[in-house]
Symmetry: C2
Subunit: 168 residues, 2 copies
């Protein structure tokens, strides 16, 4: 399992799957590049694992000094759908940055175990391990690190976006 650590915290995800989402599906508050107010979470490969890095905003506190749990849940959520998209895209023969529109996933379920209070002043690094449970349904096991401390663990079941979602 890749850990965090100060050196890795200065990493940036170079080729993120969200950069290739179709414009119609790039509005998510968590990970949509077109949502001006959003977090712009970006998820890429690190070998066989996936990585999302995010610096919480000053206001994202639970109490002063510690990150708000809802933000951690949000990072795990979008990291999960992004990871599933990366995985199915790779299974289909593609990598991010190749200009091919990847499949877009939605979250069926989200679970978070908050292990330790999460310090607020350093970037969070979510590291995901992907499990295919069906061609259209993937499970992503995620650990969230602040420096090299694992502060939360998450599990997302992500499903290919159903047509009903796009009819809104």
């Amino acid at each position: 399992m890749t850990k965090g650590g100060k050196d890795q915290m200065s990493e940036k995800v170079i080729r993120a799957i969200q950069d290739d989402y179709a414009d119609d599906y790039a509005w998510c508050y968590g990970c949509g590049r077109l949502n001006k107010e959003g977090y712009h979470l970006r998820t890429g490969w690190d070998g066989e694992q996936t990585v999302t890095i995010y610096q919480p905003r000053p206001e994202h506190m639970a109490i002063p000094g510690f990150v708000y749990g809802g933000l951690i849940a949000s990072v795990i959520d979008c990291h999960g759908t992004g990871s599933a998209s990366l995985a199915l895209h790779r299974k289909n023969g593609y990598e991010p940055g190749e200009g091919i529109e990847p499949p877009r996933f939605v979250t069926a379920s989200l679970h978070v175990d908050f292990i330790k209070p999460t310090p607020h002043d350093i970037p969070l690094k979510a590291v995901g391990t992907i499990e295919e449970i069906h061609p259209k349904k993937w499970k992503i096991h995620t650990k969230v690190f602040a420096d090299d401390v694992c502060c939360a663990k998450g599990e997302v079941v992500a499903a290919v976006m159903p047509k009903t979602f796009a009819q809104g």
Copy 2:
């Protein structure tokens, strides 16, 4: 189980437990009344159940027309800690609005099942049922309604805030 519905959606929580949190613990991005940028979630009793009502901001979308899952998770999270605080406060003989500082909880775990795409243009209503699993640990079962449609179900295990948290 209390449902949502248009009439109830115009409800407002009158006496919220978050109004009574000590100033030091009123900074949460989700439910802290002192966090200027936050959601200001407010949780109160409705009989033996608890209620939190929130109108998502325009930017809180997954795709246009539907609410971003991370926000739903955040509502369930703070609704859970607020509900646990209400429950232990009541067990101790107090109700919100009596000027007594309630116990402050943190989230140990959060689970969300996203059942249906959640429409963006109406307030969300979280309705919680509380289960005591230990004097300092409570489980909150929550349904999130948009109008009278249950769009998500959640489960939070909330624990009395440990001293380590306040030493940040």
